[in-house]
Symmetry: D2
């Protein structure tokens, strides 16, 4: 009756590493899993830092050599939590070594990299059965899964409007420090790839439609920032006396989008929206109904039944997505006892493990994440070409 | 001690006519006015309808001849509440006859018309002292005036984001009837001019910045509609058995915008946002603070103090803009006893009367409304040219 | 086709007088009324003040002699907007003179007075057909009428909980001045009669149940206040240097209540709830559904369908009670364009006029208002007797 | 550098057992703890069930003999998650055996039991240094700790109103099954002890004041229920065909309360408030400010600054209590990434461990929990005596 183990090596020790650690540890205690994940090996950059993080985050062993991890026959999963410029190399090596790969988003810093990763994933799956998945964690939000169910049930009818804004404010202070997230060579882009990518993925997944064309504007409000930080992490403060270096990514991106079945999208991503801490918002308006979501109230979904069935009593209803009937919630707490941010990662771990066991599709696949990358590229192309409507280029099926 | 009268003739008897009538009647009972408005003459199209409306709306006399009203020496004010295609002709004639003119928005159906009207207004003002004002009534919302005060006080610092969405849903049903608002020759444009114009005016007025460039997309989701209505008015139902005619305006418009001092704007106007009845929303994010407003809760303003003065206690505060210290509110009811939609028109009447008496500026002037028209034109131009970033063309100062 | 006039004399010129004036003036322009109200005569205390107010509020004539008004054959309606200690004398005289009477709430300062008024109303109605109504204006809120409709339709099933709190804060400052509202001889009681009376009336009317027993606590937090005001009106500021006089009414009252069909009520009324400007709230929880209302958002009703019909999508829905299908709203503005506080008084005028014309019941009648008075008396009795559960004493039917 | 272990035995395997397990497991990965908790031994009733739960919840060993656990020298902590009727016996035995004890709330089913437990705790602490703490987990909510900080900082001034309602609806269906929570011999009381106890504890702790007197009403709406369940857990459904047994506890309790420094409290606890899933609400109104909280939005605190410092901009602000500066939050995720229900238990584990290490006070102590028990007893006494105002009896200090 003992389950087979799934031995995980995680590359990256920061914010995402912390979230993934808690997920691997927690998942088996709340979900019936076909395999038992083990926090086997943590890979970081510096020996001291990594040793310390391994103890703190609960990993059996640590190392500073991701290549050794990839080559290690006692590892089943490579979990990539590093900045985007390293994803392609690690993921491809891991897939070629027959490992299952969970890779944080955005999948890569360019379409070309993402294409190579997707090809590697498909090759590996065909030859070794390896599973590759991208960490669009917001797909694991019960309220958004419920929204998708409503779309699939036809409650909204044909969707006309997609309104997505991902608003943060941790860069509002012009003295916030210059970190890797503001360096194009590391991060690929700024608000666009960091948080706008989530909106794009969520929008396509929720609607079941592809974005076919975009018209975009990007903006960098603060063009240089202190090169040293006083306090680290998202929201850290820069050292005012430090020299300044150039910000090479966007602070904000906004674009309109056309969807494959006719919906009109409006997207905005920014890290300068003073007072909006993590407002990952999306609203769909359909012929027969609407849904609206804001991650700042992640346990709630607003739903409007516009079918005309009860005309006196129409109104957006605040569904507390905490009932046993709601996605994942029967595994957690009684109704009204909400979950938090980290639970998305636990759900992600659950789905990844189920996919490895063949119980569920491996979605979002690298191919799906590549598709987001194509949209990101079109957004950047449009923004560089005076916002001209720019098709999302996809190979013919 | 008796005040001089201000004898008003109103052209138009429908939704706006009803609102203006209540305003003229109510203003003197709640505000100390330099002149006493009199509901002298109502001008409509059909004799029966107009007679009936004059009785209902409380006008002394009625007529079907607007030219006679304009020529009538016993009339001081021409109040234009007709569809946009008639504004220029009536307003120019009235101004040339030395009347004060209050004209509903959008000022006209084209920049050319609006330019002629503005020239006429400036000429008339120089020669007869006539006052011309455009009915951007949302500027009269106490919560928005408070927001503007906050901007002027520097509470927000430099503004980076303008996020405006005007969402209605009275056209969501594909069988809603084909009315003049869906006819380009009457209405000029659809959601864009009808409600997007409000957002543009509000955004420029609140920020004190001009929109310099736009990139736009427009969409008509339902391209033909029944030519006969079962029930009339906004939200009326079409006769399913009636023949259908073409919708010649936009159902929705979305655009990004650059502001003169660097803010990035995202605008959306639609009459198809199922469940959003009259969500005229605007949010400004500045370096030091933010404000957010939704007309569906018109007595409230959300304000975020991001100055860092009280870091533990930062949060959007819901200001009930009903205190005596708030704009116009000492004239109404005790704190917490809100006002409604029609009060905007009363405030507008008050400001118009004060402008005539020389106590206040005549704002929004025709020139300001012309500026909105220029932005509308640029939006349409951009939408026709694959969303290309399109400057707002203004004459050199 | 000209309608008969209904000639109104209003006694009282302050807050309520202002609201009633606007109602009499506005009602005929928005509603088809069987009679045409005329603002004939305003009665105040001082000649100068009353003359001024008559001009401002729009009354034809003014006087300082309410007895003459009552005796005047050219007056049809006596509208009583004075403090509670004068209601009985004026109302009874008016009814005996054959006038219709609209009397502000609470009906009287004691059960005995209210009984005499009710007897006078019933006698007058039998002999002259006079109509008497009490001004529980919150009954005229469209959202609350919709809530009542939901109760009557059985959407809530058997009601178990009534949760009513009327929270204001205009007395939070210990230096707010000593006005008539803080004087037991004028006002009868404090928060209890002023605002708690509204909650009691609303609760009984919404549920269709009577309060049968109460257990109450009353509290005066600030026992003396300045006898002179710097600024007048609700929320005025006292003169710190003025001598202080005793507050002889409650600042707050709280009580539990049993309803005739088994519901459990919790009531709270206070004028010291810092930050709550006019939060007149009521929530009903029934076997099959719930409704919740807060006057600070008077155009909204929250409704929860707990019938189990759509278990995945249960949630309190925010109904914007602004659709043409909603009570009174087809007479006002398009959906989403809300109304304000004063509209309640317009609706009240409409219902009073309809009752006079025999088109509608005269409700809330003096008998209904007397019933509220009986509950108020039981609340005071319980509070005086260590909160002991105290039955509401009513004569046998 | 290895930390000493803290070996935990937990008695009880259901809802609370699941929450505590996750807390013991998670705490050391997010907090620097002086001792390392180990999930050593799970004690349940049936061998099969307990073995299964031990595997699922992550405990090293299991047993069905709590007495053996208490006697086991390899156990440091006894964590009591059983129904209230067993608390006294287990806790006293554990304390006498020198164990640290964490006991779920309410501390006991009677004041007498709670007194014996408190004496045992004090004796044990004196002799062995054992720590005893009661599981009022809501005290661990960052938003409520922030509220308390605001009270302590004097931001509210003297507190006048405490308004606490704990509203659930899992018993709204008359066919919900008869579980131990509806059996007086097991649960002590119903809504009162289950959830009202939380409100009482929170109110006393937040205000720093004691409840001195109460006037109460209790109600059982559904007096018998099916003795067999179709689905188990909170919100389970009863078998309609099963015989019915009597409900011996309250469905709802409501009471007013006097606080030691003059505040007036209104309390309500119910499990029949249709649509309110877990609305644990509390609001304090003070002379200078107010705070309001609802557990359904547990990451938010509403705060009103009524000091008059910024009169135009007063309003309840929605503080997202997710900033690093907020209690516990620097240990979790970046701002705007909220936490969930279970995190309260992690915080509780952290505080318990710190108390054992002498780094923090052991609060809520058994003495504090006994005080809640005294209030509960007074509530029941008042409800039995026609709601008469009933002092909370406490021994002289």
């Amino acid at each position: 009756m003992t389950k087979d183990s799934l031995r995980v090596a995680m590359i990256g020790t920061a914010f995402m590493g912390k979230a993934h650690s808690q997920a691997w540890r927690t998942a088996p205690h709340f979900f019936d899993l076909p395999l038992e994940p083990r926090l086997e090996l943590l890979v970081g950059r510096s020996p001291e830092g990594t040793a310390d993080r391994a103890g703190r985050l609960g990993w059996e062993q640590w190392s500073t050599d991701w290549r050794a991890a990839v080559a290690n026959p006692d590892i089943d999963v490579i979990d990539i939590c590093t900045p985007g410029d390293t994803h392609a190399e690690i993921a491809i090596a891991a897939l070629e070594a027959g490992k299952h790969v969970l890779c944080e988003k955005p999948l890569a810093n360019s379409v070309a990299e993402a294409e190579r990763m997707t090809e590697a994933a498909e090759r590996a799956h065909a030859s070794t059965g390896a599973i590759a998945m991208c960490g669009f964690s917001y797909r694991r939000t019960p309220a958004l899964i419920l929204a998708r169910r409503f779309v699939e049930e036809g409650r909204l009818g044909a969707i006309r409007h997609v309104r997505a804004a991902y608003l943060q404010d941790w860069l509002r202070d012009a003295n916030a420090p210059l970190t890797w997230r503001l360096d194009r060579t590391k991060a690929g882009s700024g608000a666009l790839g960091d948080i706008g990518a989530h909106s794009i993925d969520t929008a396509q997944w929720l609607t079941g439609q592809s974005i076919t064309e975009v018209s975009a504007t990007m903006r960098t409000f603060v063009t240089e920032r202190p090169e040293r930080a006083e306090t680290v992490g998202l929201g850290g403060r820069g050292d005012e006396h430090a020299p300044k270096g150039p910000v090479t990514v966007d602070d904000a991106a906004a674009f309109t989008a056309s969807f494959s079945e006719g919906a009109l999208g409006v997207f905005e991503a920014t890290r300068m929206a003073t007072g909006r801490r993590n407002a990952n918002r999306i609203e769909l308006n359909g012929e027969r109904g609407s849904v609206a979501f804001d991650f700042e109230r992640m346990n709630e979904l607003e739903y409007f039944d516009g079918s005309g069935a009860d005309p006196d009593a129409e109104g957006f209803r605040r569904i507390q997505v905490t009932d046993p009937a709601h996605p994942y919630m029967s595994n957690w707490w009684p109704t009204g006892h909400g979950i938090g941010y980290e639970h998305l990662f636990t759900h992600q771990a659950v789905e990844f493990i189920r996919a490895i066991a063949g119980e569920a599709p491996a979605s979002p696949s690298f191919a799906e994440a590549l598709d987001v990358q194509r949209v990101l590229a079109s957004v950047e192309a449009s923004a560089s070409d005076r916002s001209r409507a720019t098709p999302v280029e996809r190979p013919r099926a």
